[in-house]
């Protein structure tokens, strides 16, 4: 397993957001995490990238315990997160945003990585000198993904990539996620749009109030009565 958590807990002050989460993501897999608002999905991703401290349990990545590692060390190890709400560096240019994505890869072929992202997201090339904050929501999402990919991660954590986007754009973004998986990237995808996420995922987890309540193959979860009632509105 590339990533494995055991009994992972996390608190915001006295409020416990994660109550012992066990998940595993294998090399090359696309794993989806679905659940309602406030279930702890974003907290779990933040704990995986290290910007939110774990209060208990462990996170293992590629066999090493990284539970207490600083976020920048995890980036250097190959974990990149696309945060919820995109969080681009608004006043900075698209190109600078991308180059900062390779911050832990100095000395590597930054130009090559930049060209690769421009090939994947041609609209970013057109807008390379524009301030990131002036892009549309879909373009900002592409920029946030391009920025994360600049780090050449082994594990990509995606937090609600389709949130707030028009259905057509959201579909386009999820197509890109499928494309990444086809290229061999390991992806851990958090989505509120459970149907879309589970249809493209190899496996899925359902998170409820800080606990994993269901897990299985993406298709099986889609067919699960409980999941259908709670998240798919069937």
């Amino acid at each position: 397993m590339l990533l494995q958590t055991r009994g992972l807990t996390s608190h915001y002050g006295r409020i416990q957001a994660l109550k012992g989460v066990d998940i595993a993501v294998g090399e090359g897999e696309l794993v989806a995490l679905v659940g309602a608002n406030g279930a702890g999905k974003t907290t779990l991703l933040r704990t995986l990238s290290g910007v939110q401290p774990a209060s208990g349990g462990s996170v293992a990545y590629s066999g090493a315990d990284i539970t207490a590692s600083a976020p920048y060390r995890r980036v250097a190890l190959g974990i990149a997160q696309v945060p919820e709400g995109r969080q681009v560096f608004g006043p900075m240019s698209v190109e600078d945003n991308l180059r900062l994505g390779a911050y832990r890869r100095r000395g590597d072929d930054a130009e090559g990585a930049l060209e690769a992202q421009f090939a994947r997201f041609p609209v970013l090339k057109q807008r390379r000198a524009q301030a990131a904050g002036t892009l549309s929501g879909g373009e900002q999402q592409m920029l946030a993904m391009g920025r994360a990919l600049m780090a050449r991660p082994r594990l990509l954590l995606l937090d609600e990539p389709s949130m707030g986007l028009a259905p057509k754009i959201a579909e386009q973004i999820l197509d890109i996620v499928c494309g990444l998986r086809a290229d061999g990237m390991t992806v851990f995808l958090v989505e509120q749009n459970a149907f879309a996420a589970l249809s493209i995922a190899d496996r899925g987890y359902v998170l409820e109030t800080g606990r994993v309540v269901l897990e299985g193959a993406g298709r099986d979860l889609l067919a699960d009565e409980q999941v259908q009632q709670a998240y798919l509105g069937v």
Binding site: P71, Y72, V88, F89, D96, A131, G133, T134
Partner: protein, 290 residues
């Protein structure tokens, strides 16, 4: 006319120093939202260390260089010993820590140095240059030139180097900066070192004109703060503009109204800006779609 020009020269000189102090505020504020009230002490340390190294027989250029290095060391120590251990504390707590640090540094300066006023020899002599009837000290050109070099160097650092961009990125969006792998503790440490260095350079350059003593830092910090507020807290260009404007307003006020009120002008500016222009002159946010 020559009188006006005279006031303008003197205003630009002190204004350049306020601008450098305001730049120090801006750099640390951007990295952490903390107002470092020990900023003025770095100016004092720069001036006083040069004076004492010079009197110990160190040649002037070397003494000045060493003074800047000492100030940077103290800036880094302030971060490591006072700010870093309080990581996670509220911004107000951190600001109070910097006020404490400023009192401590002033006290130490009294013990290590003394309580007298000191000067340094002017770098290129004391013969004033006369321009349209107004006298311009050569040292003024050193101060203005030094400020200009610092502004250009900072501009290059923040827009042309990846490390500088990482500092800016941390200011724009701390979370996203962490997620691309920026070590935000290092950014804060760098900011303290940089601010201390800029303050010390200002102190070294201006001491031949304004003299220095262990307690010049307090007033400089308050006026530099007024400059940063006037320019718009967080904006480097605003800090420079605000510094020059505060300096000129002060010199004009002292010249045309009364020098009794010289020190009050900066505070009147703070009040006016907070009442009528709370984001300062250049503090407006850039266009951003959410």
């Amino acid at each position: 006319m020559s009188e006006f020009l005279q006031f303008l020269f003197s205003g630009l000189t002190v204004g350049a120093v306020y601008a450098m102090v305001a730049l120090g505020f801006t750099i640390i504020y951007n990295a952490s939202e903390v107002i470092n009230f020990a900023q003025g002490e770095f100016v004092m340390i720069g001036g006083m260390s040069s004076v004492f190294l010079l009197s110990a027989g160190v040649p002037l250029p070397l003494a000045m260089l060493a003074a800047v290095v000492i100030a940077v060391g103290i800036g880094l120590a302030l971060h490591a010993l006072a700010i870093e251990p309080a990581r996670g504390a509220s911004v107000v707590t951190l600001i109070i820590i910097t006020i404490g640090a400023s009192i401590l540094l002033r006290g130490l300066a009294q013990v290590v140095f003394d309580r007298q006023f000191h000067s340094l020899p002017a770098f290129s002599g004391d013969v004033p240059i006369t321009i349209a009837g107004a006298a311009l000290l050569p040292q003024t050109l050193w101060v203005l030139g030094g400020a200009l070099v610092i502004v250009l160097a900072l501009g290059w650092f923040f827009t042309r180097t990846l490390t500088g961009k990482a500092v800016m990125a941390t200011a724009h969006n701390r979370l996203a900066a962490q997620l691309v792998g920026v070590n935000v503790r290092f950014v804060l440490m760098l900011s303290f070192g940089l601010s201390a260095g800029i303050g010390a350079i200002a102190g070294v350059l201006v001491t031949p004109i304004t003299l220095t003593s262990y307690d010049v830092g307090t007033m400089l910090a308050l006026k530099g703060f007024a400059a940063a507020i006037l320019g718009g807290l967080g904006s480097a260009a605003g800090a420079v503009l605000g510094g020059l404007l505060v300096g000129i307003a002060e010199a004009m006020g002292a010249g045309y109204v009364s020098s009794e009120y010289k020190d009050a002008i900066a505070f009147v500016i703070i009040l006016l800006v907070l009442f009528f222009l709370p984001r300062g002159l250049l503090g407006g946010k850039a266009a951003e779609r959410v």
